[in-house]
């Protein structure tokens, strides 16, 4: 075995020919600094590897870290004899020329987008010296409007997750990229003859035009190959419903700003259902805000099974089984002029009648929405009702769906499974986070079938359940690491631009899919750019395209890509194809997306795991949600393990009693019970996928028995009732009109003047304050995650949450009032109230919490000794204590993630909401620099800027024109526990509900009066 000299040469010296080729191939202006850089020699790769700290291997290598610590220890010990110590050899490459716009200490924001479930949310991502630390919404993006959901907020943590897969592996052995390319190439060559009959590509729902084009290109080359899109909670029903009603799978685009009356048929459009929660929440909340006399308040009817966030905002909520919604929809439809028949479930006939009357009275100004869990027929019914009520073109328009190729995902996956089972698949390429081994309906036995495929390739962020069953696993690049593009609900496309080099050498979906093409080794940037170059009107003109490209990147949206409204009409024979649904007799089991871990892809995200679920306030687990009545009949309490049987499958899962849940029904959220999520997510919760079948992936008949076992479920709020207190105040619209100042009359004890022994404190400069509109808040919890991300709040884990030691500076309290079976729900975000007369300040023995000249209660972490007296004396209990060392000081990735503007707290100190004082100070510096006052709206707290409902408003209350000052002047404005004379800077706007006065629709009375029942007076569930 002798090597030719030529081989040696090519390995060690520069191959000029290859460099030239590479330069020629690269389109557009490209800068190269040295021949080495173009040649991508190993030396240069090594140099890069060292230059970019994100890749520095010392951090990921425990041995390297240990020796670093050893050296640290040694240098401390030998400080006096430093001349003798061996300095660690590190290559430091300072900026030769500082990057444009980079000012050390000042963050930069870049527009990008995050796709989830085939729909993009436009984002502005904060970058500190090249480290993305915080995500904000992009106000120019129609899917964001400036807000984000909690998944986008938490995605930063996933980027830095040390459990992400970090190397390309073949059956557990690390392989270079080139070997992978060879393997794919040889596998593909076997497919050429059969035109790809054995090739399958499995992706998530693809809304990326580039990726779709790439896959189409492959399908052209291999016409017999198939592309399967799979999302664990597919929107098949919505598409099928549109096909039934209109003959084509259009996406209805709602406009809640124009809708006076909304009927949601099992549609949690505000949080977890459908594609555009942020946009719809923004629109919906705009009709929930009381300005002046309360005219324009909309009315929401919700018929649903599990108590959703949308149900919590309903003026009338009708709990019913999912399988009964069809009957209910038919009953309403038949009364608004749709030619269908059907009986509403028992007890809801009168309600259906009244709702139909209300809808009919608001022709063209109402909306009927069906949820993704409902079968095609209900979607068709909703479309027909909107048509009959004249809403089409008014409150709803129809556009092409955001996904490039709408498909029937369950059917496709079933076909794939049977193809695999029959041995017809030789090569399966799985790209993305859909994790079919976990999420495929259980009857498909996907995991067992998968073994029959001779060549299995997986690319994803984690070495997950699917990855371990594949031959090849390619670590995927996070969306913040790679170039891509994505469409949002109205079709508007955005370029997904990376903010950081792939931390673990991950490959984007484009790059992985490209391996199946003639140009297998292309980078994502080229692929995406090339696609848009072709699409662009400036196709031939490189300079014009460059200008457009830069604008797209800057704006975060590609103008003119929104889908045009489609003039669709309800087809004549739709009703015959909308098959009526037989109500499930007996117990019904429902499968829903999880409000915090989505479909399980965020199971390893500690921020999301610890975020209390909006309705149940459960953390770290899912549970079988059941109605109090069902709990009684099953004889179970919270945490008692149920044995659930569905289609012959069994799942043992603890029960959680949820007021307002439909009786005789169980709701399970998916995404838990994972075995390969990572260190955070493994073994948390119960795998509802194991129960779900493909015939009816959303709900079905089930049986439940109490097993007699118990399981510790952890909720952050043990008490659901208001206990007769006036912390939340509400009234019906009529009551508000009669008495606009009702909220202030609900004080237990009126304090009309300032009571103080000390001289009255004047705030001459800024006086920061916050107003939170309970009527607008949907309780989604995005603010909680935003606060965690902004303020370096640690994750404490299930056991510590069980001990009531969660660290969230901002919590969203949820209260029920009214009947146990169908209560009203109120959400109350609870940050520090920043009292002017703060009980915490006087009791601190070391003056670690003090009052600022602008009215903030400042925490001085360095001074805090941790007596916890401040927390005891805080009537709002918003202070959080580091009982143990909660911060992860060791994992290097998390060091990169943290916000450098916020102190990272250690053990033994108290912490709490600061009103994002770091943002105030940044604005102050800016305003002083420009010799002006801080403008209203210039400082947005993290919770405020993320809020899709714009429920949180922050600003200077000394400025009478500021938004917050105007809100505080509202008659609805009230201060929590005002009788304690705390004079809180955070105040609340009372809720005003708009129930239908029709006696067929009974409404719970408002809350906050003096005689609301306490828990022991109502039916004691606790």
């Amino acid at each position: 075995m002798t090597k030719s000299p030529k081989d040696d040469m090519s390995a060690e010296s520069l191959d000029i020919k290859a460099i030239r080729e590479r330069l020629e191939k690269a389109g557009g202006p490209q800068y190269w600094r040295s021949l080495e850089s173009v040649a991508e020699t190993p030396e240069f790769q090594e140099f890069l590897h060292r230059e970019f700290p994100a890749n520095a291997s010392e951090w990921t290598d425990p041995v390297g870290r240990r020796s670093f610590l050893k050296l640290m220890g040694a240098s401390a010990a030998l400080a006096g004899v430093s001349a003798c110590t061996v300095q660690p050899t590190e290559l430091i490459v300072p900026y030769v020329r500082q990057p444009e716009e980079e000012i050390p200490g000042k963050p930069l924001f870049f527009a990008t987008a995050m796709a989830l479930g085939g729909v993009a949310t436009g984002l502005l991502v904060e970058s500190h010296q090249g480290r993305p630390t915080k995500v904000e919404g992009n106000p120019d993006h129609p899917g964001s409007l400036g807000a984000t959901d909690l998944f986008a907020q938490a995605s930063v943590l996933t980027l830095y997750d040390p459990d992400r897969s970090q190397s390309l592996v073949q059956l557990g052995e690390i392989r270079p990229w080139a070997t992978f390319l060879t393997a794919v190439k040889s596998a593909l060559s076997g497919q050429a003859a059969s035109k790809g009959a054995g090739l399958r590509i499995l992706t998530e729902t693809v809304s990326s035009p580039t990726l779709a084009a790439q896959i189409q290109q492959i399908l052209t080359a291999y016409p017999e190959a198939k592309w399967v899109q799979w999302d664990a909670m597919p929107r098949d029903n919505a598409r099928a419903g549109a096909r039934v009603a209109f003959g084509e799978p259009v996406e209805p685009l709602y406009d809640f700003t124009k809708a006076d009356v909304v009927l949601a048929l099992d549609a949690d459009f505000l949080a977890s259902d459908g594609p555009a929660n942020l946009r719809y929440t923004r629109q919906f909340a705009s009709r929930r805000r009381i300005e002046g006399t309360g005219e324009g308040l909309n009315r929401l009817y919700v018929a649903e099974t599990a108590h959703s966030v949308t149900g919590a905002k309903a003026d009338h909520r009708l709990p019913m089984k999912s399988s009964q919604v069809d009957g209910f929809a038919r009953a309403v439809a038949s009364r608004v002029g749709v030619a269908v028949t059907g009986a509403a479930p028992a007890g809801t006939e009168a309600a259906a009648e009244a709702i139909a009357k209300d809808l009919a009275a608001h022709r063209g100004r109402c909306l009927v929405i069906a949820g993704d869990a409902q079968p095609a027929g209900v979607h068709a019914l909703a479309h027909a009702m909107n048509d009959a009520l004249g809403n089409a073109g008014q409150t709803v328009t129809y556009v092409a769906p955001p996904e490039a190729v709408p498909s029937e995902q369950v059917a496709d996956l079933r076909a794939l499974a049977s193809d695999v089972d029959a041995g017809r698949v030789q090569m399966l390429v799985i790209v993305g986070e859909s994790n079919p081994v976990l999420s495929a309906p259980a009857d498909l036995n996907f995991a067992d079938a998968l073994g029959k495929v001779p060549m299995r390739v997986h690319s994803g962020l984690f070495l997950d359940e699917t990855a371990v069953l594949c031959h090849w696993h390619v670590p995927a690049a996070h969306y913040l690491e790679a170039w891509s593009d994505a469409r949002t609900i109205d079709g508007t496309a955005s370029i997904v631009q990376p903010l950081i080099q792939p931390m673990y050498g991950g490959k984007s979906a484009h790059e992985v899919v490209a391996t199946l093409t003639d140009l297998p080794d292309r980078n994502g940037y080229d692929i995406v750019r090339e696609y848009w170059m072709k699409q662009s009107t400036a196709a031939g003109d490189a300079a014009a395209f460059e200008r457009a490209w830069r604008r797209w990147l800057h704006d975060g949206v590609i103008e003119g890509t929104a889908h045009a409204p489609r003039p669709v009409a309800v087809v004549a024979d739709w009703a015959s194809r909308a098959t009526p649904v037989a109500a499930v007799s007996g117990l019904e089991v429902n499968f829903r997306r999880d409000p915090t871990v989505y479909d399980g892809r965020f199971a390893n995200n500690g921020w999301l795991q610890e975020t209390p679920k909006p309705m149940t306030k459960l953390t770290w687990d899912n549970a079988a949600l059941i109605a109090p009545r069902t709990a009684e009949s099953l004889g179970v309490e919270n945490g008692d393990v149920l044995e659930l049987r569905h289609e012959g499958r069994l799942l043992r899962v603890p029960a959680w009693i949820t007021p307002g849940h439909a009786a005789d029904a169980v709701t399970l959220t998916v995404g838990y019970g994972r075995t390969r999520a990572g260190r955070v997510g493994n073994g948390m919760g119960f795998n509802a996928y194991a129960l779900r079948g493909s015939a009816s992936p959303w709900y079905g008949a089930a049986e439940a028995t109490a097993s007699g076992d118990e399981y510790a479920l952890v909720s952050t709020q043990d008490h659901w009732a208001l206990e007769g207190r006036n912390v939340v105040r509400s009234a019906h619209l009529e009551e508000f009109k009669a008495k606009p100042g009702f909220a202030r009359e609900m004080e237990h004890l009126k304090l009309d003047q300032t009571i103080t022994l000390l001289p009255h404190k004047e705030y001459t400069g800024y006086a920061w304050g916050m107003a939170i509109d309970i009527n607008a808040c949907t309780g989604c919890g995005a603010c909680v995650v935003a606060c965690v991300a902004e303020n370096n709040i640690p994750v404490v884990g299930k056991e510590e949450v069980r001990r009531n030691r969660e660290m969230h500076w901002l919590r969203v309290d949820r209260y029920y009032s009214g009947s146990l079976d169908n209560p009203d729900t109120y959400f109350q975000p609870m940050p520090c109230q920043q009292c002017e007369n703060a009980p915490c300040e006087v009791v601190c023995p070391v003056a670690a919490t003090t009052h600022s000249a602008e009215g903030l209660n400042d925490m001085v972490y360095n001074r805090c000794v941790g007596t916890r007296y401040c927390s005891n004396n805080c009537p709002y209990k918003v202070r959080r204590f580091n009982f143990l060392l909660y911060q992860d000081w060791d994992t290097p990735q998390f060091k990169l993630q943290r916000n450098p503007d916020v102190t990272v707290r250690s053990r033994g100190v108290m912490e709490k909401c600061t009103y994002c004082v770091q943002r105030i100070n940044a604005a102050r510096v800016q305003s002083k620099h420009e010799e002006r006052q801080i403008r209203d709206g210039e400082v947005m707290t993290a919770c405020q800027s993320v809020c899709p409902a714009e429920a949180i408003v922050f600003g200077n209350i000394n400025d009478p024109d500021s938004r917050v000052a105007r809100l505080k002047a509202s008659p609805l404005n009230y201060s929590l526990l005002a009788e304690l004379n705390t004079r809180a800077r955070t105040t609340y706007l009372a809720a005003v509900r708009n129930p239908n006065p029709d006696p067929a629709l009974p409404a719970n009375p408002g809350v906050g009066g003096h005689h609301a029942p306490t828990e022991h007076e109502t039916a004691g569930e606790h």
């Binding site: 030691r805 601190c844 023995p845 004396n873």
Partner: protein, 467 residues
């Protein structure tokens, strides 16, 4: 007339009731007390008791060591219950200390001579109880290594002072003053007896050690004069402390805004409770020691009876406090106070409330009966239970208020962990260890004071018709 004579005779009988047993002279009193520390052979019972104390002390060391390494999260303390066992224990120990000061200072000023036999070890108990108490406020903090000195107003380069509005700062002054005065008072009272020990000691080591600590006491008239003045001054200093220390401790609660804490009744109610628990502890200690060291002649049934009566009186005061607490919760008209009281009685911690009421208010009524007061075994059980009851009182105050305050969403339960109990029992170990060392090496009864009670000492003053 007959009536008058009868009453006078009864009064004389009471006054003449023996403070010490019959048949003692100076020598026997001194011998009875002094032979205990001077004995060569250590009694087996002492060794066993000391070992129990020492093992618990080891447990304290282990739990505090683990606490410093790991953080106070090893306890069950949480949000909303930010104070729990540690503060309960702190208040409990501080309260126990009160009996010693009351006996040595107030009863001295009131010339209650029966105090003389029990004052020495009651004072020792005070000091050891304060030592146990002091552990908690330091170690319950998140960063004890800083809390240990940042709460003191020491001059520093950053010109940072404590925050004087905080009752915790008042606590620092109250408790440290209390500890200082108690130690000085105790030591001053020891000096004449230490000299006696020096003079009686057989071994060289004991002679030197007792000699050092007796500060050259020779028993001259001038010494005695100085001694009398000093102890009167110290008694005068200590007297307000009996009232002030627990008053200040009660401010930790009363100054807050929490329902169930924010009450003006707290200072007197806490002081009464402190004396109640203090006398219970003195009885708990006195009854077995008296039996073990055959000190029945010096700690007579009269002492036992008097202490039981003090317990009864303070127990009734405490019961009045509970009644007023409940009454004011209702009478205040404050919704939160009413809810708090309801929760205290019928909420999840209701068991602790009713246990406390049945012990501190119910059981103490047995002390009305002389037969109970004379039954030392029963009294020992009652005094032990009173200690439990007073511990429960602090638990009820601290935990039930915090567990359910204003905002129902934040309500949460507190469950103690192993380490909570380990730290608590550990301080009991510290107390026992110190106390066993004390009875082995220091004369536990004030010999020179008791000697003044002998008839021989009263020849001169016999005609004054009393003491």
């Amino acid at each position: 007339m007959a009536n008058n004579v009868h009453a006078q005779a009864r009064a004389t009988a009471v006054l003449e009731a023996p403070v010490i047993g019959p048949g003692h002279d100076f020598e026997t009193v001194t011998e009875t007390v002094a032979q205990i520390p001077l004995a060569k052979r250590t009694p087996l019972g002492w060794v066993l008791g000391f070992l129990i104390g020492l093992s618990l002390l080891m447990l304290l060391q282990a739990s505090l060591g683990y606490l410093v390494v790991k953080g106070i999260g090893i306890w069950g303390t949480n949000i909303p219950v930010g104070w729990a066992f540690p503060i309960v224990n702190f208040v409990w120990w501080i309260g126990i200390g009160h009996a010693g000061t009351l006996i040595s200072a107030i009863l001295l000023l009131f010339k209650q001579q029966w105090r003389m036999s029990i004052s020495r070890f009651a004072e020792a108990m005070t000091i050891f109880a304060v030592a146990c108490a002091a552990i908690f406020p330091v170690f319950h903090t998140g960063r004890p290594w800083l809390a240990a000195y940042w709460l003191f107003p020491y001059p520093n380069t950053m010109a940072l002072w404590p925050q004087f509005r905080s009752p915790l700062i008042w606590d620092v002054f109250a408790v440290s003053t209390y500890a200082t005065v108690s130690i000085v008072f105790w030591y001053v009272g020891l000096v004449p007896d230490l000299a006696t020990m020096r003079d009686r000691a057989a071994s060289r080591v004991k002679k030197v050690v007792f000699g050092l600590f007796s500060l050259g006491w020779r028993g001259s008239a001038r010494h005695w004069h100085r001694y009398e003045v000093a102890s009167l001054i110290l008694a005068g200093l200590s007297t307000p402390l009996v009232l002030s220390v627990h008053t200040v401790v009660s401010f930790d609660f009363a100054v807050s805004v929490m329902p169930g804490w924010h009450a003006t009744i707290f200072p007197p109610y806490f002081v009464a409770g402190a004396i109640y628990s203090g006398f219970a502890m003195v009885l708990t200690l006195a009854i077995p020691i008296r039996a073990a060291y055959r000190l029945e002649d010096l700690i007579t049934m009269r002492h036992i009876d008097n202490m039981a009566k003090v317990m009864l009186a303070t127990g009734l005061m405490v019961g009045y406090g509970y009644t007023m607490e409940a009454f004011y919760a209702w009478y205040s008209g404050s919704f939160y106070e009413q809810q708090m009281m309801w929760n205290r009685m019928f909420g999840p911690y209701g068991w602790s409330y009713w246990m406390l009421i049945s012990i501190n208010v119910g059981m103490v009524q047995f002390l009305w009966f002389k037969s109970v007061r004379e039954n030392t075994k029963l009294l020992f059980v009652i005094s032990l239970l009173v200690n439990v009851g007073m511990w429960l009182e602090r638990f009820v105050i601290v935990v039930t208020t915090l567990a359910r305050d204003f905002i129902p969403s934040s309500w949460g339960m507190y469950y103690p962990t192993f380490w909570d109990f380990a730290t608590y029992f550990g301080t009991i170990g510290l107390f026992l260890t110190l106390f066993f060392l004390f009875i082995r090496f220091v004369p536990m009864i004030s010999m020179f004071e008791v000697r003044t009670l002998l008839p021989q000492a009263k020849v001169e003053t016999d005609h004054h018709g009393g003491h």
